[in-house]
């Protein structure tokens, strides 16, 4: 029962602040939620009211990273949650909630039903593409990106295609297309969309081994001032890959509340022999432990990286292997290869070999890792 806490205690001052909530009650997002909740309370069986509130809660998780809102959204959709064929508007939100909990098959089923009913739904096509990318299904992702491009052309649809190209060994072509699209239409994007496209550009540069260009794109995205945990994580990974842990500690100072960033802080501190490494590592392990107690297994990749950094190679390998069964992006492949290398088990990397072969994937770092593994045989 004790993850990290000391013993229960009795505060002495009424003024002692025990917990800080993510937002004040009068913040715009909170006021919007209050409005939607009121409408939903008045008619909890009304599809439109429930879907609006649930989508709002899902988007809040997107903004602040707190998975609690996912549970709230699911509770709002309770009347339809277990139905085989609820209204398409419900299915669209349900798909987003399902994929969040790694029920990719259920999410895809919902989304396919949505695009059957609403072939013009760019959102549904976007989610289909996103999930196919996460699962490494290049062909399905390509199809969805094409539908998306016809409905909503622009840098975002191009970025969708570029990610597919990166998966099938055409990274350079994908990068060129995205750079072109960014130059012509990037200025028209909202800041959060611009951040997203720039992050993709940085990743594509990094995939090709051009760390300087990647760094430049990440800096450009950071300069836009739109807070984005994934961007910060990607940037931190680049810094770690190029042996600059001190910069990671600086860039992520005070941002450890997000698991993704706490992991990078712990890795950087360890590389830098910073005394905070131990505390961060323990904190992160406690969060993983807490999730494990409730039966969640959706953090395997992060837990694997932590285990690897702590020298628990067997655990790291088991986690990375299990993660790769569910998620098949480059980062997932890399986690498995690194764990297999540390455990000196070249055979454990076979799923990645098969996957890369099937796609014709070219990725400098993965290939270097594979070569090191081959040398072990």
């Amino acid at each position: 029962m004790q993850p990290v806490q000391a013993a229960p205690r009795l505060p002495s001052q009424d003024s002692e602040v025990l917990e800080r909530l993510p937002a004040r009650a009068d913040a715009p997002r909170a006021r919007e939620r209050a409005r939607l909740q009121q409408a939903w309370r008045a008619a909890p069986q009304d599809v439109a009211a429930a879907v609006a509130l649930a989508q709002h809660d899902f988007d809040t998780t997107a903004a602040d990273g707190d998975p609690r809102h996912i549970g709230h959204a699911q509770a709002t959709l309770a009347p339809w949650w277990s139905l085989a064929d609820p209204p398409w508007a419900v299915r669209l939100v349900r798909a987003q909630l399902r994929q969040f909990n790694h029920d990719f098959a259920g999410a895809v089923q919902d989304l396919q039903a949505v695009v059957r009913a609403q072939p013009q739904s760019a959102v549904a096509w976007a989610w289909l593409a996103a999930i196919a990318l996460v699962q490494g299904r290049a062909q399905d992702a390509g199809t969805a990106c094409q539908r998306l491009a016809s409905l909503q052309p622009g840098p975002l649809a191009v970025a969708c295609q570029s990610q597919v190209q990166a998966l099938i060994g055409q990274t350079a072509a994908g990068l060129a297309a995205l750079q072109q699209a960014w130059q012509t239409a990037g200025s028209a994007l909202a800041p959060e969309q611009a951040v997203w496209v720039l992050t993709r550009l940085g990743e594509l540069h990094a995939a090709l081994g051009d760390t300087a260009a990647a760094e430049q794109r990440f800096q450009q995205a950071l300069a836009l001032g739109h807070e984005d945990v994934y961007l910060r994580a990607a940037h931190a990974d680049l810094l770690l890959d190029t042996a600059r842990p001190a910069q990671v500690l600086q860039a992520l100072e005070g941002r450890g509340r997000a698991d993704l960033l706490l992991l990078r802080l712990a890795l950087a501190a360890q590389a830098q022999r910073d005394p905070r490494a131990e505390g961060w590592t323990r904190e992160l392990a406690a969060r993983f432990e807490a999730a494990a107690r409730r039966g969640d297994s959706t953090h395997d990749k992060e837990a694997s990286r932590l285990a690897l950094a702590q020298g628990r190679t067997a655990e790291a390998l088991a986690l990375a292997a299990r993660n790769f069964e569910v998620q098949k992006e480059v980062a997932d492949a890399r986690a498995l290869l690194e764990a297999a290398l540390a455990a000196r088990q070249p055979a454990a990397a076979q799923p990645v070999r098969d996957w890369m072969k099937g796609l014709g994937l070219q990725y400098a770092r993965l290939q270097a890792l594979l070569a090191q593994l081959e040398a072990l045989r």
């Binding site: 029962m1 993850p3 990290v4 806490q5 229960p8 205690r9 505060p11 001052q13 009424d14 003024s15 002692e16 602040v17 025990l18 800080r20 909530l21 004040r24 899902f58 988007d59 997107a62 602040d64 990273g65 707190d66 998975p67 609690r68 996912i70 549970g71 709230h72 699911q74 949650w81 994929q99 790694h102 976007a126 996103a130 998306l148 975002l156 959060e192 984005d228 945990v229 994934y230 509340r257 997000a258 698991d259 969060r287 993983f288 432990e289 807490a290 494990a292 409730r294 039966g295 969640d296 959706t298 953090h299 992060e302 067997a314 390998l317 088991a318 986690l319 299990r322 088990q345 072990l376």
Partner: protein, 433 residues
């Protein structure tokens, strides 16, 4: 061995059962929806921590309980609105004033029945605590499940979920043991989980369970019965694992082979031992020493009090077999073979522990399962000795035993174990299996 010998890691890998929180991996194209912020992994979903401990009472363990329920302030704020002044900070003052309301809200969403009898829950004073994702209110409570307790209209859940579940918990059918129905935040957060840790005895082992929408009702029986089942089951595992653990068997055999012989230093050769009794005493000394040593480290490792790097342990085990076999060819330690068994037995204990870790120990019957496994290992060992000793004794005067078995066998064992050692310590694949 049938367990993976070449790469010890695959054993350890099986131990890992856990992993972690939701990963919003399909952030990618959410941007297209216009609501462009990207989901990230941070915080964790909502959990409460519920601890129940049986209080020894006249009616037997189970009629009275002490509880402690840790509930996140974030969740209570969502349900009850704790932040009175709306400044996004929950102070102790704000929380303290709401204790009665919080206790009533929570306890109305936990239904307990003992032997079908509803329990009356009474809240204690309020504390606070920190878990990995923030501050929690700590709600201590008592549950009185005796027949004389005022009945439980007061503790009937306010939000009544499914009828079927209710009647199952209600004990119409299952009127034995402890039935729990958990519905905290069931209407507000479908991802909320209640993590229960249940103790039938003070400081006894905990039974763990997770409550959620699809497991709102769960049923628990006192542990004794399952303890004996675990004992038997782990005893069988213990026997089996000494039999398939070639390195342990070869170590033991290397020490036992010369037990029916005596080394003559003058002539530098072996002569048969005089009398079955003397051979038996020698064997008993070795087996007892080995048993004491590996039981000790097996227990320490299985309980998590001591651990050594797997690679180190497996290499040391292989080395111990080499040394024991070489000692038969160039004896330097004849009179105190039991002390060799004692010293290296400590290392072999860690090896057994890894097998046990692979099996996993039932938390509710940790001690009995561990004891069962230990006893099983000893029984398996004794069975080997029971076959070995009469045979070796009968053959001890023959050239076949002294040259074929003793010298030839020891050479083979030493070679095989040396290959294991090279494999385990340096990753060189020389071992045939």
């Amino acid at each position: 061995m049938s367990r993976c010998l070449k790469t010890w890691w695959c054993q350890a890998a099986a131990r890992w059962t856990a992993a972690v929180a939701p990963a919003a991996r399909a952030w990618a194209l959410l941007a297209l929806a216009g609501a462009a912020a990207l989901p990230v992994q941070a915080h964790k979903p909502s959990d409460s921590y519920l601890r129940l401990q049986a209080v020894p009472a006249e009616g037997g363990a189970g009629t009275r309980w002490q509880g402690q329920w840790d509930i996140a302030l974030r969740d209570l704020d969502h349900a009850l609105g704790l932040d009175a002044d709306g400044n996004a900070e929950i102070t102790w003052g704000e929380l303290r004033q709401r204790h009665g309301e919080i206790a009533a809200y929570a306890l109305a969403r936990l239904e307990m029945r003992w032997q079908g009898q509803p329990c009356r829950l009474r809240a204690g004073p309020q504390w606070v605590d920190e878990h990995s994702d923030g501050a929690y209110t700590v709600l201590p409570f008592e549950a009185d499940c005796s027949a004389t307790a005022p009945t439980a209209a007061a503790s009937a859940p306010a939000a009544a979920p499914q009828e079927a579940a209710a009647s199952a918990a209600g004990g119409h059918a299952a009127a034995t043991g402890l039935a729990l129905r958990y519905s905290l935040f069931a209407d507000l957060d479908a991802q909320h989980r209640g993590l229960l840790s249940l103790h039938w005895q003070a400081d006894g082992p905990a039974v763990s369970a997770v409550f959620g929408p699809t497991q709102a009702v769960q049923h628990f029986e006192p542990g004794q019965a399952s303890g004996w089942r675990a004992f038997g089951q782990y005893l069988v595992e213990g026997v089996w694992h000494i039999w398939i653990g070639f390195d342990h068997i070869l170590f033991l055999l290397s020490l036992l082979l010369p037990a029916v012989l005596v080394w003559r230093v003058e002539g530098r050769h072996w002569v048969p031992v005089q009398g079955f009794r003397r051979a038996t005493v020698e064997v008993l000394k070795i087996v007892t020493a080995f048993t004491l040593a590996h039981s000790l480290t097996l227990s320490l490792a299985a309980l998590g009090w001591l651990s050594l790097p797997a690679r180190w342990v497996e290499s040391a085990i292989a080395a111990s077999v080499v040394l024991a076999a070489l000692n038969n060819l160039w004896p330097w330690m004849q009179q105190q073979r039991w002390s060799v068994a004692l010293a290296f037995g400590l290392v072999h204990g860690f090896g057994f522990a890894s097998v046990l870790a692979e099996l996993g120990l039932p938390q509710q019957a940790l001690a009995t399962a561990l004891l069962g496994f230990n006893v099983g290992v000893e029984l398996g060992q004794l069975a080997i000795v029971a076959v070995f000793l009469p045979l070796a004794y009968a053959l001890r005067a023959t050239a076949f035993y002294r040259w074929g078995v003793m010298v030839g066998g020891s050479v083979l064992i030493a070679l095989l174990a040396a290959a294991w050692f090279a494999d385990r310590a340096f990753g060189l694949s020389l071992a045939p299996f």
